[in-house]
């Protein structure tokens, strides 16, 4: 059964310097509050894994938590570039950022392989692109029946995966719905997992389209209402599109970014 913890305790226990950390959530249910707690606790040298390192990873990269990024699309959705990500790649600020770059199909299948206890995934992808030239984790495998050559990628096995969900019960059974992305796979692929939730409830009423993660497959659950802001939790909040637009200006400038982090992350009370 998953332990019910505070966000601060959950991050302290489960996320360590140098870990391979995945924060997942496909536009919806992005665990921003957990990302901020990682910044507050000053983690360093993380390998950050995420299909879409958008604003949440821009913040973690800008705050100096990451030394490596494994990803497939790094942008501010609907707005433009990630300036902290670009500053790290182009100018090594505040620290060099090593990239391991894949496609969405590749990352999704790497999580699937991790969740399935397989060492690698097979897909049709990457062929003819320049990705295999620069990404060492792209190889090929031949079909033992047809002889056809397909793309092989190593399983993703994060040390810890963090996701946000709508609800959990007292036994740590987690329920999420709406766009559920790759969260189940990311949690099951990881050695440890932390789920932040909008609500802890006595019983999980079934909801169409739900994904349920049994409490025995999750390490810890923390109640963090609004923990997805400026992303959203369907049924609980709406996406703060203005924030994403405003982030462009905040993140363009190193000082403006530092001031924002100081005020909105570092000086923020840790949720109980």
């Amino acid at each position: 059964m998953a332990k019910i913890v505070s966000l601060a305790d959950g991050i302290a226990e489960l996320v360590h310097d140098g870990d391979v950390v995945a924060l997942e959530g496909f536009t919806h249910l992005i665990p921003f509050a957990a990302g901020h707690e990682i910044i507050r606790q000053g983690r360093r040298g993380l390998t950050l894994v995420r299909m879409t390192p958008d604003v949440i990873y821009d913040q973690l990269i800008g705050a100096g938590c990451a030394s490596r990024l494994v990803f497939s699309w790094g942008g501010n959705p609907g707005v433009g570039s990630l300036h902290r990500f670009r500053d790290a790649v182009q100018h090594a600020w505040p620290a060099p950022l090593e990239l391991e770059e894949h496609s969405h199909a590749g990352m999704a299948n790497r999580y699937v392989a991790g969740a399935s206890g397989l060492p690698f995934a097979v897909l049709r992808g990457y062929t003819g692109t320049d990705l295999p030239r620069h990404t060492a984790t792209v190889r090929t495998v031949d079909c033992p029946f047809t002889g056809e050559t397909l793309t092989a990628l190593p399983a993703l096995r994060p040390d810890v995966t963090v996701v946000h969900a709508q609800r959990a019960d007292r036994a740590g059974n987690v329920q999420l719905w709406g766009i559920t992305g790759v969260q189940k796979e990311a949690v099951l692929a990881a050695r440890r997992s932390l789920v932040t939730v909008e609500e802890l409830v006595d019983e999980l009423t079934p909801v169409p389209g739900q994904v349920v993660l049994p409490g025995w497959a999750v390490t810890a659950v923390a109640r963090v209402p609004g923990g997805a802001h400026p992303s959203y939790a369907q049924g609980y909040s709406v996406r703060d599109n203005d924030f994403y637009r405003d982030w462009d200006a905040i993140s363009r400038d190193r000082d403006a970014f530092r001031a924002w982090i100081a005020r909105h992350v570092l000086a923020t009370e840790v949720p109980a």
Binding site: S72, G74, G78, Q90, A108, V182
Partner: protein
């Protein structure tokens, strides 16, 4: 209706929407592709099936979604599936008729770059978002429609980084690479439409938007642009198309 009554971007969006036949299945990204696909759905193609990479199959948004994972997509979809499933069960086997892609660079053989521009991969002049779903959309969809504004910076002889394969180095390359989809059949820009020459697979100007000249298109292209015999001129946006497009835009604060 004269050119002054609509913008080049509106013409581009309308031209893209017209590409989409009713009843086909379309893999849609946010921005111009989503706007064009939804415009098609509210005009001539009510049975167009929209698939978003967030896992929403058959989404029927009543306003323009602001992100690939906008709640309106899940709320109106026939089915919401996981991200691995949308790529493995729906895109990879070739179930999608049309894929829409944008690009920061596009070359004469329709290869697309959304990764890095200039310098080297490790030390680029501009770091772009990267691949996302594009390489496999370009590989597996029945055909690909590219929407991109035309300029010498964007339309280059050879992309700095092949993120998504068009026709590779030319005829036969897609087959040699084992890519099962048809590749980019149409490139829609703010100036006109380019299509691959059947023999050389080089992108060739086949249509111009009203008021645009071949010389303008050539000036905005970084390779010696071939022009089809008698390039036709696109019909300008009809009042109905424009009204529908503007009504769609009014439903959202989207910038595209």
């Amino acid at each position: 209706m004269s050119a002054a009554d609509w913008s080049a971007d509106e013409m581009m969006t309308v031209a893209a929407a017209r590409q989409l036949r009713d009843g086909t299945v379309c893999f849609v990204g946010i921005g111009l592709p989503s706007t064009a696909a939804n415009l098609a759905r509210v005009t001539h193609a009510p049975g167009l099936v929209l698939v978003y990479e967030s896992g929403c199959l058959g989404a029927k948004p009543d306003r323009l979604p602001l992100s690939i994972g906008d709640g309106v997509l899940a709320d109106t979809a026939d089915a919401v599936v996981s991200v691995p499933e949308v790529f493995n069960y729906w895109l990879q086997p070739g179930r999608i008729d049309v894929g829409f892609l944008g690009a920061a660079q596009l070359d004469r053989h329709g290869n697309l770059n959304t990764t890095v521009i200039g310098g080297s991969y490790a030390d680029p002049s501009v770091r772009l978002p990267g691949a996302g779903g594009a390489p496999e959309i370009a590989a597996s969809c029945g055909e690909v429609v590219v929407i991109v504004r035309q300029s010498r910076r964007t339309f280059v002889d050879r992309v700095d980084f092949v993120t998504s394969v068009g026709y590779g180095a030319g005829p036969g390359d897609r087959a040699r690479l084992g890519l099962r989809g048809g590749g980019p059949r149409t490139v829609i820009t703010d100036l006109g439409v380019l299509e691959p020459d059947p023999a050389t697979r080089e992108l060739t100007l086949t249509r111009l938007h009203p008021g645009v000249t071949v010389a303008q298109a050539r000036a905005a292209t970084g390779w010696p642009l071939a022009v089809a015999d008698g390039p036709t001129t696109n019909e300008p946006p009809t009042p109905a198309e424009l009204a529908a497009l503007r009504a769609l835009r009014a439903t959202s604060g989207a910038t595209t």
